[in-house]
């Protein structure tokens, strides 16, 4: 039946158009959110900068705490992995990349015969590792596109506990670093033990040399400062991951919209072509039907046949007379 294929195509175009509207809306939402996430990351920067400054000042003042968080690595038997993924998909390769980096880290530890502990942030990582029967020590989710400091505190408490009491000798953090709107990279960093305060200090410019007064004492300040430092680092990583997730989603949705547009063009062309073909076929059917009729009557005087069989002579004659008519005034 002619038109059936056309109708199927028309329906498909309508459906792609709907999908395009949805992906376009998601793209716009992600675009505004990524800006907000960047603002939040910038607003959070002063705190971690100041905390690092205080640690620098403490180092300059010669504070030296025998804190468990500063305990150097002697022999690694158990590795902790903290992975920051997203709660939701449709963000391109964002979740896959960071999860794969974390899995690689665990496989490395396993191949060396080490034990591992896994802490996941975000539903995607939790689902992935649970499905593959990894042991998950703790998982946090429901806030990855808008993390708050309280969540960072909760994660920090869990991770610190794993390191201090849970037998982990090293804790690695896998997350997606937000470089620019166009580039984000998955990084796996050593998170605990912390570098000694001298190394933290030398990372910044250690210009502070003035004699500080401490209350209650330099070591006591350092001891209560280190947990805050860990929290602020996790918070910074969460904010970076959130911005990366949104930037990835924006990009993924943009290309989905572009692809939908391309499909629409392709299907429209196909539909037009099919329609043309249907029309041509219909004409052919009429002609051949008429011819069949003419054959039945078998008379050359048949009107329809006269019209359809292209007899050029009357036309040519017409044109000739017109020609001569035009030319006569000139000659």
């Amino acid at each position: 039946m002619p038109g059936a294929q056309e109708r199927v195509l028309r329906r498909r175009i309508a459906s792609v158009q709907n999908t395009k509207k949805i992906t376009r809306a998601m793209e716009l939402i992600a675009a505004t959110r990524v800006v907000k996430a960047q603002v939040r990351a910038n607003e959070a920067r002063p705190y971690s900068e100041r905390i690092t400054e205080v640690i620098q000042d403490l180092a300059a003042a010669g504070a030296d705490a025998d804190h468990p968080l500063l305990r150097p690595i002697e022999k690694v038997q158990k590795v902790g992995v903290l992975v920051l993924s997203g709660d939701r998909g449709l963000a391109g390769a964002y979740n896959t990349n960071v999860i794969r980096a974390a899995e690689q880290e665990i496989q490395d530890a396993r191949s060396k015969g080490l034990d591992y502990s896994l802490v996941t942030v975000g539903r995607k990582a939790e689902g992935y590792f649970r499905f593959r029967n990894f042991d998950i020590d703790a998982s946090f989710s429901g806030f990855t596109d808008r993390p708050t400091y309280e969540e960072a505190v909760a994660i920090a408490a869990r991770v610190t506990d794993m390191f201090v009491n849970g037998g982990c000798d090293r804790i690695d953090l896998a997350y997606t670093r937000f470089v620019t709107l166009g580039t984000q990279e998955v990084v796996v960093r050593r998170f605990l033990p912390l570098e000694s305060e001298e190394t933290i200090a030398s990372a910044g410019d250690a210009s502070a040399t003035a004699g500080f007064e401490f209350e209650p004492s330099a070591n006591a300040v350092l001891e209560s400062l280190l947990p805050r430092y860990i929290e602020s680092r996790i918070y910074a990583a969460l904010l970076d991951a959130a911005a990366s997730e949104l930037a990835n989603r924006q990009r993924a949705m943009k290309s989905a919209t572009d692809n939908a547009q391309e499909l629409i063009i392709k299907y429209t062309r196909k539909m037009n072509q099919v329609r043309q073909e249907a029309i041509t076929t219909e004409i052919m059917e009429i002609i051949s039907g008429a011819e069949a009729l003419a054959d039945d009557k078998s008379g050359p005087e048949d009107l329809l046949l006269d019209h359809l069989s292209a007899d050029p002579f009357p036309n040519v004659l017409d044109r000739r007379t017109q020609h001569s008519h035009h030319e006569t005034p000139r000659t």
Binding site: V54, V153, G211
Partner: protein, 134 residues
């Protein structure tokens, strides 16, 4: 030559301004900073911080633990930085919520006087209320 006061919470810089004097409570006792104070780092208790402004006004801020750092003077200005997980200006405190938290903590303490968390919650609620009412 005023003091430059900065109140930094993990989520943003909550307050910046110039002041004549800053009074806060560290774990070992109250301390006030005037311009030209020696460099100082202290651990703060849960207590309101009072910032005496240049124009004679006063800004009171609820600070629930954290740190205070007085940086070495640069170009004659002394910078006081307060780092705290929770620091609230009096305008942003919800009195009703603080009241509720206070009564909840009090009833928890009444049933179990050893409850450390409830005691801390009560202390925080009291600080909030005193800042809001100041």
């Amino acid at each position: 030559m005023p003091l430059l006061v900065e109140l930094v919470s993990p989520e943003r810089v909550a307050y910046t301004g110039e002041a004549k004097m800053v009074i806060c409570r560290t774990t070992t006792g109250d301390i006030a900073f005037l311009p030209g104070h020696v460099p100082f780092i202290g651990v703060l208790a849960t207590h309101p911080v009072r910032v005496l402004l240049e124009d004679g006004g006063e800004q009171i801020i609820a600070v629930h633990q954290g740190f205070v750092e007085v940086s070495p003077p640069e170009d004659g200005t002394t910078r006081v930085t307060i780092l705290s997980d929770v620091c609230e200006l009096s305008e942003t405190i919800e009195v009703a919520r603080a009241q509720q938290a206070k009564s909840a903590a009090e009833s928890a303490l009444a049933s179990d006087s050893e409850d450390v968390e409830a005691a801390a919650a009560l202390r925080r609620a009291n600080v909030r209320l005193s800042v809001a009412n100041a």
